[in-house]
């Protein structure tokens, strides 16, 4: 990026860029009310098609990939330009659901680890709105142990043949390619025998199944890989060095959550399911507007909700000025989970019987939400994993004892269910 500043920023200042972006946005992008953004449900195919259209629009206008290098289809500008664009684009419809994982995780990782030809092909395609990328990391047997991959890739002539199962891949049904971690050597410790492949999701060997969550979302998928064959051009990084690539993905993921990423374009809300509870309305609906007990519970929830936002800004600043390490993004992940838990409990306590019997809109929605309370404590790494990360990478406490460290993977113990 510092290179980019020297070659391009001389030409146009941030303010000039901002003015040009503002004019272009007004002319080309659909305006919205930022307080009530249109819902972009990640589990609906039409939302992904819409995002592709909007991205193509940005690309054609010359505002796609502001911080991606020019040789891969971007503008090669500094973060300040992206931030200016984010400010200006707040009141326009943007392809926000492409930010994560396509741009901030997948493309960012390709930039760090892929070959020249792979970058030219895939990053450019993503910036044009032609390709959506996802991660195929987790496995049904795996839980928090991402490197404990059982999906195998075997050499067959000059091809690789992948077999296994992946799960919890967000929006895979709408995607074109997936970064898929597979085991290529079983005789070495678990991190040393992995290779990262970029596999076409539409490959006939891939069967895709949506997972229905209690909150009704079908955003996540499970994929069964049955003799999926790819060539050497699908290998990202080196064979048996796939964990380095996966580590970059995790790094970019934490960074995207914790402090924002220069590869994200637009910073509004995706809208939809995550509307916070309106306690004042809930208290009124259940006839408890004047109940001090209820008001105190709700007030406490509002306080924690506000602190969650304040912590976000604080961590962002602190990571940027170096007073907290990048892993501090995990503090936000954990605080968010704790706050949502507190809010769901508050909602249930306030609503009482109306939360369990009655009609949606009269309180029952609170009880239904409560049923998927743990979603925020599980998704994107469990709260337990988050506490490990904070303990080990923010506080530098000793790492957890791993029984599989240095042990050839084919000698590592698994549960009955995973065999």
């Amino acid at each position: 990026m510092s290179e980019a500043v020297n070659t391009v920023a001389d030409v146009e200042s941030v303010d000039e860029f901002r003015a040009r972006a503002k004019a272009w946005l007004a002319e080309h992008m659909p305006p919205i009310d930022p307080a009530h953004p249109p819902a972009a449900h990640r589990d609906e195919e039409r939302c992904w098609l819409r995002a592709r259209e909007l991205q193509k629009q940005l690309y054609d206008g010359g505002f796609a990939g502001i911080c991606f290098p020019r040789e891969y289809g971007g503008l090669g500008l500094d973060y300040a330009y992206q931030q200016a664009f984010n400010d200006e684009s707040l009141s326009y419809e943007m392809p926000l659901i492409l930010n994560t994982p396509t741009f901030t995780i997948c493309c960012a990782t390709l930039l760090d680890t892929a070959g020249e030809e792979q970058k030219r092909q895939h990053i450019a395609a993503a910036l044009r709105g032609d390709e959506i990328l996802v991660q195929l990391l987790s496995e049904p047997s795996g839980g928090s142990d991402l490197a404990g991959v059982l999906t195998r890739a075997d050499r067959d002539g000059d091809r690789w043949v992948l077999n296994g199962a992946k799960t919890w891949s967000t929006s895979a049904f709408g995607a074109d390619y997936g970064l898929c971690l597979a085991r290529t050597n079983w005789d070495v410790p678990k991190h040393d025998g992995l290779t990262m492949f970029l596999v076409p999701i539409k490959h006939p060997g891939i069967t895709l199944r949506r997972i229905t969550q209690l909150n009704g979302s079908t955003e996540f998928c499970e994929e069964f890989l049955d003799n999926v064959d790819v060539g050497d051009d699908a290998v990202i990084g080196e064979v048996n060095d796939g964990w380095s690539v996966a580590s970059r993905q995790l790094y970019h993921e934490r960074r995207a959550v914790g402090m924002g990423s220069e590869f994200a374009s637009g910073s509004g809300s995706e809208g939809g399911r995550s509307t916070p509870v309106n306690y004042v309305r809930l208290a009124a609906k259940t006839g408890q507007s004047d109940n001090e007990r209820v008001r105190q519970i709700a007030g406490r929830a509002l306080v924690h909700r506000a602190v969650s936002d304040q912590l976000g800004a604080h961590v962002f600043r602190s990571v940027n000025d170096g007073s907290l390490p990048p892993a501090a993004g995990t503090l936000l992940r954990l605080f968010h989970a704790e706050t949502v838990t507190l809010e769901m409990d508050a909602g249930l306590a306030i609503t009482g019987t109306a939360g369990v019997v009655g009609a949606e809109g009269e309180g029952l929605e609170t009880g239904l939400r409560y049923l998927s309370r743990q979603t925020v404590c599980i998704g994107g790494g469990t709260s337990e994993l988050a506490r490990n990360v904070i303990g080990e990478r923010v506080l530098n406490f000793p790492r957890e004892y791993a029984a599989d460290r240095g042990v050839p993977f084919n000698q590592v113990k698994h549960g009955k269910a995973s065999r």
Binding site: Q213, L214, L348, G352, E400
Partner: protein
């Protein structure tokens, strides 16, 4: 609950303890069926005028008809002694007007035992659901098995025999029974969920170690075990107090309902957490148990409502002149 001459009987000689044990068994499978509404009505009929209602009792015991307790009212919390539904005396009996809701199995019931306000305070009335002026409408709930209904009474006429005697004591005892049968079922649910989650944690490996070997998880399980045994303890104490019709049965029932209500959903959510992603999907049964426990947390008094009752009882006890 029901004496032998009316078709009932008991294995252990303690009818309510038997019933609580059945409830605990039901919890293991989150079974359907109107055990609780029928039991609550039976408890009232047997206590009030067993012989006047012998035929009804026998038919309920035999499962030939279904009855339920119509006690909650729209927009109001747990206040069984303060109905707003009215029963107005007429020449031949009473006219009942008003609305009840959250009536379990209301749509499946032949009979309702309705708590209504009379000039002499709250009393209970047996009302047939096919009587003119009774309108039953199903209500949604977070449970996928139990069914609830809203029941409207528009000038429903019942004869004098429909009114049960011994109002306040009876309502109190029915409340205790309804609360503590729920607790017993929840104990069955908790034991089941806890056991299969323990098995999962011992089997599932992460980083070459079983989940159960991670101290943070092991400690969570230790808490859960403690809460589970405490739920069992307080439910057992309440069952005994109700069986013995002890002076502190009402207090014991509130203590159990508050504690079990507070902890049960915590335990199950902790078990969901142990299962990871699969726990918040339709692909695992966990949510079925969670639904039932969350339903029971609130029905027949939330923990908060019972905490307020326990405080009020404590306060009343301290204000009473010290005996001895």
């Amino acid at each position: 609950l029901v004496p032998e001459e009316l078709g009932g009987g008991s294995v252990s000689g303690d009818g309510f303890a038997d019933l609580a044990m059945v409830a605990e068994q039901l919890g293991k499978t989150v079974a359907p069926g109107p055990l609780f509404p029928v039991s609550t009505v039976l408890a009232a009929l047997v206590d009030a005028e067993p012989h006047a209602h012998a035929e009804t009792i026998e038919s309920l015991v035999a499962g030939e008809s279904v009855a339920s307790w119509a006690v909650y009212e729209p927009g109001r919390g747990w206040a069984p002694h303060e109905p707003s539904v009215t029963a107005t005396a007429t020449d031949s009996g009473y006219r009942i007007d008003g609305v009840k809701d959250r009536v379990e199995a209301g749509g499946q019931s032949d009979l309702l035992l309705v708590v209504a306000r009379t000039d002499d305070g709250a009393r209970q009335f047996l009302v047939r659901t096919d009587a003119p002026g009774v309108h039953v409408e199903p209500q949604q709930s977070i449970d996928m098995v139990k069914q609830y209904a809203r029941v409207q009474f528009d000038g429903v006429a019942v004869d004098r025999g429909a009114a049960l005697g011994g109002a306040a004591d009876l309502i109190e005892r029915q409340s205790q029974i309804a609360q503590v049968l729920q607790c017993a079922e929840v104990v069955g649910i908790l034991q089941t969920v806890f056991d299969f989650t323990v098995a999962w944690a011992l089997d599932r490996h992460s980083f070459g170690r079983p989940l159960a070997s991670y101290q943070a998880l092991k400690h969570r399980f230790a808490d859960m075990k403690m809460w589970l045994e405490a739920c069992r303890a307080t439910t057992g104490a309440a069952v005994t107090a109700i069986s013995n019709r002890s002076a502190d049965a009402s207090l014991s029932a509130s203590i159990a309902k508050s504690y079990v209500g507070e902890m049960a959903t915590e335990i199950i959510q902790a078990c969901v957490q142990m299962h990871g992603g699969i726990g918040v999907t339709w692909e695992h049964d966990l949510h079925v148990y969670l639904r039932r426990a969350a339903l029971y947390r609130s029905m027949f008094g939330t923990p908060e409502e019972h905490n307020l009752r326990v405080y009020a009882l404590q306060e009343a006890g301290q204000q009473a002149p010290r005996s001895a």
